[in-house]
Assembly symmetry: C2
């Protein structure tokens, strides 16, 4: 059989290192030219595959592909577009196979989270049913660190390093002025359902009394009185208090705290943000001067302070995905296996997509302290290795130098357009 | 005359490099032991001087003092405490002189912004009147970059580098997902009256169409219709739009925009934040999915991405302050003089405190584009050199290693306590 091409697509929220995975995929495929033809990328992810809007990565220089390793966000575009179930929208899956056929694609690499693992698994099933077998490999990516079957997720370690550094630095700031200025500082970080990023903030606290003093996890129903009592105690003991809070913090009824507070002057628009809600609560009770920050995309785009471990793992899963594909594996995902905590040792393993799809790994209770306001020693032991090492991008004129690819379109071969 | 001691105090909002200035002061004083005795620091700034709560920096090792160069925030504590006028509260000034006398202090270094320059000048006046002359040297520091008499202010360049990097990185993020996700991203940065930090965000835009697309300066009254029209045009042309906004953005009546929107569900608490107000406005008009971030203290504490130029200048003004003092200069401030833009060359000059005190330098109109939505070529030429160069701190276990000093108290000599 003539060698077949590959399609790589990025899915869902981008990270500081998803392009490092793309780099691993493309560089590895280029080293196996006898087995893999061209690597096409979906423009804006799976949407580009469905609409036959493919990018020919062979038009990029080795230097450009190499630069993906230090470039944040999605170089080919990503999207939030979940394929429906096979029964609900079989046409989508048939269209994917039609595009694969038209472009002689035998390998499909889908780089995303839970949903994407599900999609990849379904595509592998339908491709066999339709008599056009494709090696479908999921590649893990999510800042949320909530995928099962892997010790951790590429993308998480760099966010973790960013938020822990931010808490460390703002902790120094608030401590030095608390006597006459801000006494309570609240940092809001990502995490709708899983508290991994908030937990990573806890790494900044290395000695008794260090910031952050309180972590508010989405897994733990917010108890305002218990929280306020702790804030008061911390301020009394240390003179200030810093707090990290998950965007997904919920009250005892499961209602998002960010929905409980903010409206505009006319009472209609939802403005979002749980940090200002928490800060206002503290100010109202105690009169403390409060400041708050919402890191939002700053955290997941912060390639300048990426974790070297994360970059290496992101590259490794991309490389392993190609190696699995050319070995004929299908419906699997390369995952990260922890061999030991100290010294940290890891290796690439393989998991079945069907075991990963649509599941979610939240922060275990025993990774938190008894009062659920901080990380336990066990949590710290898990998290600490993931932020190890620095891998700064090159700088020019004072700013990071990130690559922008040419993203040359592949000529369309299908007559039919596809409407999303 | 026996050699006299020095007092150094940090004032107002801390920065990523104010400790680099402290390092410059202390290391330079240690090299001039024949002229300067001990360097005492006010604990929590001028409050520590008034209450005779002094720190003996001679108890710190050379390595600890050296580490101040890469440690953010105020190592001796800072405060927001403005001395009143001489007529209103002469007792404060007399108290300062009493503390100086008690500890044989002949040099006073006050490291701060406009207010501090005023205080330093007044102390120099009263010390002469009271027959206890002290060499009073102001040292510039402010992230706001709003001091007159100096080309730029230590502290600004590092914030500028942080926000420009953040805009660059989030620009890549939003661009890669705009088709199906967030189309408009708003980053709020510091600057109540002066738009320097917002202007620095503009450095991230290096090519046509680059983020950020719109800058909202506090010097320019916010015109909602004009702004919304521009957002729509940018989204139509580029598919997404990113905005940097000063916390101090005001409407045509001079009312802060951050006061115009946010209240809690009960309509009483002020929650602050202009970014959510702007984002809500865009979402309401166009239905675009919007995200926003508020950098707050993350920006001014971000020593991990400090500008090397800024660190060097912060150190240099500290060093120069000591050299001026031992030359007998009084009521002056070492300032940064720009010799050329390209290549960037600078030197240390000297300005009179009375010419700096209580004045404020806002962003010049010709540093903005004609429509006031971005920086002009002239603005860019001014700003670009200030973010040049990287000077990362040492890292250990994945986090920056910042020093915490022993801050050993000097034994009190005065009988009277002083109530603030």
């Amino acid at each position: 059989m003539a060698k077949r091409n590959a399609i790589y697509a990025q899915s869902g929220g981008v990270t500081a290192v998803i392009n490092a995975t793309a780099c691993g995929v493309i560089e590895t495929a280029r080293r196996h030219r006898s087995q893999i033809g061209k690597v096409y990328a979906g423009r804006d992810g799976i949407i580009g595959v469905l609409t036959e809007d493919l990018i020919d990565t062979s038009k990029e220089t080795p230097a450009a592909i190499r630069a993906l390793r230090h470039t944040p966000a999605g170089a080919f575009g990503s999207c939030r577009y979940k394929l429906k179930g096979l029964e609900e929208n079989r046409a989508q899956y048939e269209r994917l196979i039609a595009v694969f056929k038209a472009h002689n694609v035998g390998y499909f690499f889908y780089n995303g989270g839970n949903d994407s693992a599900d999609t990849t698994w379904k595509v592998s099933q339908i491709s066999e049913k339709l008599g056009y077998p494709v090696n479908c490999i999921g590649i893990p990516k999510t800042v949320d660190n909530d995928l099962v079957g892997t010790d951790n997720c590429p993308g998480f370690g760099s966010v973790a390093k960013y938020v822990a550094t931010g808490m460390l630095e703002t902790g120094y700031d608030v401590a030095s002025m608390a006597r006459t200025s801000t006494k309570v500082f609240v940092l809001e970080v990502m995490g709708r359902n899983a508290g991994w990023i908030t937990a990573a903030c806890g790494l900044a606290a290395q000695r008794e009394g260090d910031a952050p003093h309180i972590l508010l996890f989405p897994e733990i129903a917010f108890d305002a009185e218990k929280f306020l009592a702790r804030v008061e105690a911390v301020v009394k003991e240390h003179g200030f208090c810093t707090v990290a809070v998950s965007e997904g913090l919920k009250d005892a009824n499961g209602k998002l705290m960010l929905e409980s507070g903010l409206s505009d002057a006319f009472g209609h628009a939802q403005l979002g943000g749980v940090a200002p809600v928490i800060a206002a609560m503290v100010r109202k009770r105690f009169g403390y001067r409060c400041h708050w920050a919402v890191a939002d995309y700053l955290q997941r785009a912060a390639r300048h302070i990426a974790s070297k471990t994360d970059v290496q793992q992101a590259y490794a899963v991309g490389k392993a995905a190609v190696e699995l594909a050319i070995k004929g594996r299908n419906a699997v995902m390369p995952v990260i296996v922890r061999k030991s905590d100290r010294p940290y040792k890891w290796a690439i393993g393989v998991a079945e997509l069907k075991d990963i799809a649509n599941r979610e790994k939240t922060l275990p209770r025993d990774f938190m302290t008894d009062d659920c306001f901080h990380i336990s020693a066990k949590g710290r032991r898990y998290l600490a290795p993931l932020i190890q090492g620095e891998d700064p991008p090159p700088f020019k004129n004072g700013l990071p130098v990130y690559v922008r690819l040419k993203n040359v379109a592949v000529k369309k071969k299908l007559k039919e357009a596809f409407s999303l």
